[in-house]
Symmetry: C2
Amino acid sequence: MSISLAESKKAVPFSREQLESVLKRRFFFAPSFELYGGVSGLYDYGPPGCAFQANIIDIWRKHFVLHEDMLEVDCSMLTPYDVLKTSGHVDKFSDYMSKDPKTGEIFRVDHLIEEVLEARLKGDKQARGQSADISANADKDNKKEQKKKKINLKVKALKLDDKVIEEYETILAKIDGFNLEELTEIMEVHKIGSPVTGNKLEKPISFNLMFETAIGPSGQLKGYLRPETAQGQFLNFSKLYDFNNLKMPFASASIGKSFRNEISPRSGLLRVREFLMAEIEHFVDPNNKSHDRFDEIKDLKLKFLPRDVQQAGKTIPIEVSIDQAVSTKMVDNQTLGYFLGRIYLFLTKIGVDTEKVRFRQHMANEMAHYAADCWDAELLTSYGWIECVGCADRSAYDLTVHAKKTKTNLVVRESLSEPVVTETVELSIQKKNFGPKFRKDGSKVENWLLKRTEEDLIKLQKELNENGKIKFNVPTIDYDIELDKNFIDIQKVTRKEHIREYTPNVIEPSFGLGRIIYCVYEHQFWARSEDPTRGVLSFPPIVAPTKVLLVPLSNHDDLLPIVKNLSKVLRSEQIPFKVDDSSTSIGKRYSRNDELGTPFGITIDFDTVTDHSITLRDRDSTKQVRGTIEEVIGAIKKMTYNHLSWAEGTKDLKVFESKIEDEE
Amino acid sequence: MSISLAESKKAVPFSREQLESVLKRRFFFAPSFELYGGVSGLYDYGPPGCAFQANIIDIWRKHFVLHEDMLEVDCSMLTPYDVLKTSGHVDKFSDYMSKDPKTGEIFRVDHLIEEVLEARLKGDKQARGQSADISANADKDNKKEQKKKKINLKVKALKLDDKVIEEYETILAKIDGFNLEELTEIMEVHKIGSPVTGNKLEKPISFNLMFETAIGPSGQLKGYLRPETAQGQFLNFSKLYDFNNLKMPFASASIGKSFRNEISPRSGLLRVREFLMAEIEHFVDPNNKSHDRFDEIKDLKLKFLPRDVQQAGKTIPIEVSIDQAVSTKMVDNQTLGYFLGRIYLFLTKIGVDTEKVRFRQHMANEMAHYAADCWDAELLTSYGWIECVGCADRSAYDLTVHAKKTKTNLVVRESLSEPVVTETVELSIQKKNFGPKFRKDGSKVENWLLKRTEEDLIKLQKELNENGKIKFNVPTIDYDIELDKNFIDIQKVTRKEHIREYTPNVIEPSFGLGRIIYCVYEHQFWARSEDPTRGVLSFPPIVAPTKVLLVPLSNHDDLLPIVKNLSKVLRSEQIPFKVDDSSTSIGKRYSRNDELGTPFGITIDFDTVTDHSITLRDRDSTKQVRGTIEEVIGAIKKMTYNHLSWAEGTKDLKVFESKIEDEE
C-alpha cells in the first residue's frame, strides 16, 4: 500500500446516498415525528449529531465570544408583531407560492420556474445530441445552491428555438430578483404548470415565512417565532452599551433557534423550518470602521468572488490576502475584512475543507437597500455552493428604524477630546412685528422664511446687509413682501461641539450552524478503497462527538476490571468516550465507530492484564501504537485539545502491528 | 471585626427589591421588547445572565449526560397536533380563566380565588384585632409557592362568620384540585369578582396553554410549540434503544426551550412563557428498578416531605438517608432514589443553599393517573417553596399511548438466559364439523367457546375428560349445546419462552433551569453590613459568569502593557475575565463586580511594574493576597475548577493589607 491517506480518501467517489444512509443509521439525525409520518423540514439530532452540535457551539463561543469579549445575550423567540413590522419582516420576509387547484399541492414559484426551465434546456441539448450537462449553465450551477434535488423532473428531448433558449437563460440568471407580477407573467408566457400533474397552477401569491401565533389568553397580541436572532440584540443596544461601560466599538452575540416556514422544504438538512443560528452584531462608529485586531488576520489569503467578477459571468475566485482586499476597497472596511478572516479560521478549525470555501459578494440587487456591503461564506457540497455564513455591513438601518418607531434614542454620545467648531447661518424673526404688518398672512411669511436653505439664507443676508432690507414673493400671497432689520436678522454663528452623537453602524456575521454542520459531514466523509461499503467520518478530534472508543478484545472476566478502571480515568479526564463490549468482532466494532467519526480506539487485550499496556488506533489510517495507559491518554489529549497530528502525538509510542483490522 | 463571613452574610435582612434592582442594573436579565412596552412573561438574559446560564448547562451536561453516558438528543420545538393529542396535552394542558366583561382583563381563576379569599381572611383578622399574619395559613405559605405577588389586593378589615372562615380555609386547602364546574360555583357562591374594578366576571372557561401555529403554506397542518422536551425523546425511543446496542436500562436527555402561554404571568423569572428545560427520560425494566450506581448516593441525607406527612397537615420534613427512604418504600424504587440524590448534588454544586432544598412527594390527586410516584425538588425563596425539579416515575404510559396511536411496537425484546416455562390450557376446535351440526349457529357456538377464561377451560376440560362430552348454553341460542371430542379438545400446553417482551417504564427527572437560576440568585445574594447598599452575589466560582476582574490602579502608561500581557495569559488559560480600566475608584470598580458575582479580582499597581507581583482579592471576604502572576493564576484555577476554598487555594500566597476597600 503506497498511496497516501489523502489519496486514499479520494479513491472512492463521494456518494451522498451513502453519507445519508450512515447519518441516519448512526442517528446523527432523523426526521422529527417519524412515527407520525414526519413533518418536512423538521429534524431531530440523535446522540452523535447532538454532541457534534454542542462541540460546534462550544468552539464558536470560544472562537468569537471569549476571544473578543463579546456580550452574549439570550433573547426571546416569541416576538410581538410590532417589532417585526418595524424590522421589515412582516412586509418583506416572504416567498411566492402557487397551488395546483386540483391536488392542492403548493410550489415555491421561483424554484419551480428554475426547475422547469432547466429541464427544458436539458431536453433541448438532448434533442440536439449534445451532452445533457449544459456547459452554459455549469457556471451557474457552480455559482449557486441547487435547490431542486427531489422533484426530479423528467427531461423530454425537445429542440427549442434559439430565441427561446436565450430567453430562458436570461430568466434563470435573474431568477432571484423578480417580483410577484414578473413571476406571474413568466409562468403565463412560458406555460409553466405543475411538473407532477401538468395542471395549470393558480396565480402566484406572496407567503410570509414567519410562524404566527397569539401571545396571552386574549388572542389579541399577535406574535411570530423569530426569523433570526438579531432583533433581540438591536433592541437591547442601550443596555449593552451601558454594560460595556459606554465604550465603543463592541459586539453582542447570540446563539439560538430561529424559524422559517419554508413553502416546500427539500435538500435535507440544508433547508429546514427550525434551525440553529449564531449571530454577532458588531456596533461600530460609521466614521471609523477600522479594527484593532486586524493585524491578526490580515495576511490570510481567501478566495473572493467579488461583484464585478460575477457580473462578467465568471466564477473563478480571486485569491488575495485580506489586507489587499481591504486596501483595494474590494471589501468595504477593516472590520468586515477582520470578520471574514475570523469566519474562515472558525470554519476550517471545525472541519470545513479549505478547498471548498469561498467568499461571494452580494450583487447590488441581492442586498437590502441600506446595506453597505455583504459577503457570504459559501461551502461547496453535492448540492452546489451553499451560503452558510452571511457577513453584512447593515449601516445604521436597524437601530434607526427601532429608535424612530419607539421614539427612543439609540445612539452613542462621545465626548470629543477636541471640540468640533461648526459655522452656520441662522435666521431670527421678530415675531411680534409680523402680526401688525401682515395680519392673517403673517404665519405664511414666517413659514416661507423658515423653509429657506443655508444657501438661500446666505444670499438673503447679503441683500439685507447691502440694501437694509429684502424683497421676495410668497407663492400663496399675491403681493410683494419687504422686510427690514426690524423684522428679521441673519447672522453667521460659530458653535463648539464637545459631544458627538451618532447612531452606530452594525456589522453582522450570521452563521447557519445547521448548514455548516451538514457541510462538515460532506467534507469529512469518505469510503475506504479496500472496501467502499466502509464509510468514515474524519472529523477533527476537537469536534468529534466521542473522542475514544474503548474495546475489550472479549468479554473475558480478566478484561472487565480494566475496562472499568480505564472508564474511570477517561471520565475524570473529561474525555468523552464510549465502551463497546458487544460480542461483535473488533473490526466490526471499529467500522461502526469510523461511521460515528470517533478518532481514537483503545483496545484492551490479554497482554494488558500482565503488562498494563494498551493499543491506540487511528481512525483515518487504521495505524496502531502501544503504550501505557498514561502515555496513551496523554497522546489522546494532545491530539484532541492541542491539535497535534497523529504522527506528532504518538511519536513516543511503539508502533503496533496486528491482524485485527483484517478480521473485518 | 470579629464576626464570621457566614454571620456577616446574614447580618442585613434579604431584600428582593434590592436583588431585583441589582439583577436589572447589571443586565442579568431584562423584560424582552422593553422598548416596545414589553410582553409579560418574556425575558432576555443579558451578558452575565447568559454566561451564568451557559455555565449551568455545561455543569448539567457533565453531571448527568457525561457522568452516566446518557444519550442526548435535540428535537424540534414545533410539534404537530397529533403528537400532543396523543400525549394528552391538547386535552389537559390548560388552566381556567375568566374575563372582566367591561375592561377585557383576564384572570386565572384558581389564582384569583386564592388571592381574594386570603385577602378576606386577612381582613377578618384585622377586624378581630389579630395580627394580619395568619398563623393558620403560615403552614400553607410555607408549603406552597405564592403566586400572587403583584395584584396587591387591598385588605378590608371585615369580620367574617366562623362558618365562612372554615369554608374559605377548606377551599384554599384544595385549590389545586377543583374542576371547571367547582371553580365556577365557588366564584358564584362567594361572589368573587374582579379585584381591580369590582365587576362580576364572565363564566370561567378552560384555556389551553400551548402556543398554536400552522406548519407549511397550506395552513392545514396545525402545530404547537412544545410544552416540554419529553415527547421528542419518547418518539425516538426505538432509535435510541438501537443506538444503545439494545442494552437496557438507558437514559436519554435533552436541553432546550419549551413554551407555556401563561394566562397572566407574574412572579418575575419564576413564571414565564418561554423557558429553558433539561429533561432526562430513564427507560427501565418495570420488573427491576434497581440502579447499579445507587451505592454512590445512598448515604446522602435529604429532607423528605412524604405524602402522609402532608396529609397530616404538617410541613416538617423527615431527614433520612436515601437508602432508608427506599428501603422503607417511602421512595418507590432505587432508580427514583438515585436521581433524587443526583439532583441534590447538582443543585448544591451550582449554589443552591443546602438548608433551602426539600423533596416533596406529590399527593395522589396531584399526580397523573399513570404515575407510580413523583417527588419535586423544591427550593425556598422569598416567594415561598418553588417547584424546580420534578422527578416522576411515569410507568409505561408515554410509550404505550404513542405505540397504540401509531400502531408501532415501542418495546424491548430481551433474550432470557433461562427460558421461562409457562403452562396454559388451550382449546382446539374442529371447525369443519361445526357447520354440518349447527348450521347458522356454528359461529355463535365457536365465539362462545373462544371467549372462555382459563378457569372456565379447566372446568370444561375436566367435564370433557370425565363425561367424554360437555354441555352448555349459549345466550343467543335457545337449545342446549352438546360437544364431544370430535368437535373440541382441551389440553394443558407447556411453553418455553426465550424472549421476554416489555414496554419500558420511564423515570423522568425534569429541570426548570430558569427557575433554578433565579433561586441561586436569591440564595447567594447578600448585602455588606458595613454598607447595606453594597450587594454581593456569592456565586460558586464554577458558575460565576466571569471568574476574574482585572483592575489596573490607574490608566498610567506603565500599567497598560501589563494589563495586555495578563489578558493574554488569562485568555490562553481559558479563564473568563473582564478588564475594568475605567477611571472610577478601585473600590467602586470592585463593588460593581461584587454585584456581578465575580469571585476574584486582580489589582495591578506600580509595584507590579518592578517586581511583577499582583494582588488577588476575594469577593466574599474582601481579603487580599499577593504573589507572582503564575502563583495567582494557579490559585484561581484551583479555586475555580478544583473547588478549593479561598483558605486552601491561597495558603502559599502572602496576605496583603491595603487601604483600597476603604476608598469606596
